[in-house]
Amino acid sequence: MAQAEFSQSNSQSDYLQQIRASVARRELISKLFGVLGLLVISIATLILIALVAQLFVQGIPRLNWKFFTSFPSSDFNEAGILSAWVGSLLVMLTTMVIAVPLGVAAGIYLEEYAPKNWLAALIEINVTNLAGVPSIVYGLLALGLFSTVLNLGESILTAGLTLALLILPIVIVTTREALRAIPSSLREAAYALGASRWQMIWDHILPYSSGSILTGIIIGLSRAIGETAPLITIGALTYIAFLPPSPIQSQFPFISFEWLTAPFTVLPIQMFNWVSRPQPEFQVNAAAAGVVLILLTLTLNAFAIYLRYRLRKGVKW
């Protein structure tokens, strides 16, 4: 009897040891993977930091008021990014005004109105795939469609339309995802009070998902702001020493849309132009323009994070 008990406890401690060995082995593998992951991500981050740091070290000394208020020039000390940042700003504004209503409306239609049939599935696949089309292809399309067929020329409007097309899939997809995330219990609550579909969307679903939709819009815009290829394709200038006509006029009707038809350049093109010059001083200018571009993108992203935080704080379910 006592012996039986002994052998039983013995086999039990054997068993325990087996378990411990197995746990230790699996934990080791887990730890190894953790270390490997950390290593990979550190290398990636370090490279990125090094690149950005080099850009900042090179570019920041060049950043002063004059740099922002001067046109490009063959004299690197005189050269600035005035036409480039004004161009970027106006092109972004145009892009936003076109892409946001179109993209959000398309997202709402596809998610809330479109019947769920093969046509909707086809559109869905197309929209998702459009997000992955290389941007230069959009440039070619725009060159043919907007510049030539619609005769809009090499203007800010053409650029805005092109970039709007480029970010439209991003806006549509994030809008749909944001709408889909609203639980059906809230939709039913609105309908049960006699809301129409539009009232349900406008009074509830849209406000509750606005944080996520805005985030998508800003991610789209921060992609558009760095685009070079499609704008070069549609004929953006690489050297321009004048500004588009001001949107604000001193005479009635005080606002003007003439700037939409003006030629333009944007920051990444200006940067590209300077990088391709042989003089090392122009490399410094390029770095400075790069710093401005990076800061702009970071600001946009920070703004997106802030908005998401603010708008989601009161909204949970």
């Binding site: 219990s185 939709r187 039913e188 609550a189 309908y191 049960a192 009070l193 006699g194 009161g314 949970k316």
Partner: protein
């Protein structure tokens, strides 16, 4: 002891009547020739085992099924004599007269005030003083006014679960509907919140007709005047609550109310 029911029954009116109602989710038939009466300003309970079609029947009364494709009604629900299942009748119109309280509290992520005011706004009321008045009346009706009157601007999510459900009741009664539908309104609540909602129902029935789905026979016995027992999509028995529980006519009802299945 005076049975008030008998006294009242002389003036009792039919608020709604279900006649031979079939309902299909696509090709699946969930309700089979259901008929029943909903008496004006009484509480009618729907009981039966899970999956027997209580929720399905309830959601016919406000045409909630119209929101999803493939659903089909066959038969009639007369509300004040008019068949609300008729194709020409806009479900929105029906929902403005028949409101609903759901299984889980589902307030909008808006302020307490806006939650209650929403149904009124949908109906086109914009005048601030009228909104204020109706919001207060609804919150009082839902026994939430004292707790909420100083925090009307606060988000509804700051309320406890039981308070949220009472807010949903206030939202549902603010528009002074003909019928309020309750789908297991206390299944997500603790016993104290449950009993406060049951008490509330007793007060509400002075003003409004109530149809409640419940999985708890005790709850049906406590709150309802009439009870319908459903089984596998059919209406097995419909009667005054104490008759249905004490003298069930059908063997299945007998088995269910005595706890032999379900």
């Amino acid at each position: 002891m005076v049975d008030t029911r008998v006294v009242n029954s002389s003036v009792m009116e039919r608020k709604a009547e279900v006649k031979n109602l079939d309902f299909y989710y696509g090709s699946a038939k969930a309700l089979k020739s259901v008929s029943m009466v909903v008496w004006d300003r009484r509480v009618t309970a729907l009981i039966g085992p899970s999956g027997c079609g209580k929720t399905t029947l309830l959601r016919c009364f406000n045409r909630m099924h119209d929101l999803y494709p493939g659903n089909r009604y066959d038969g009639e629900i007369l509300l004040d004599g008019v068949n609300i299942l008729e194709k020409q009748i806009d479900p929105i119109e029906v929902r403005m007269r028949v409101s609903m309280v759901f299984q889980r509290p589902n307030p909008f992520p808006k302020s307490i005030y806006e939650n209650v005011a929403y149904g009124l706004r949908v109906q086109g009321i914009t005048e601030k003083s009228l909104l204020d008045e109706k919001v207060e009346k609804a919150l009082q009706g839902a026994a939430l006014w004292n707790e909420a009157k100083d925090r009307l601007k606060e988000p509804a999510y700051n309320l406890s679960g039981g308070q949220q459900q009472r807010l949903c009741i206030a939202r549902a009664i603010a528009t002074e509907p003909n019928i309020v539908l309750f789908d297991e309104p206390t299944s997500a609540l603790d016993p104290i919140a449950t009993s406060s909602i049951e008490e509330l129902m007793n007060e509400l029935k002075e003003q409004v007709t109530i149809l409640i789905v419940t999985h708890s026979m005790q709850q049906a016995a406590r709150v309802s005047d009439y009870t319908a027992f459903m089984y596998l999509g059919e209406m097995v028995e419909f009667n005054e609550t104490n008759l249905l529980f004490n003298k069930p006519a059908d063997q299945k009802t007998q088995d269910y109310v005595s706890g032999r299945f379900g």
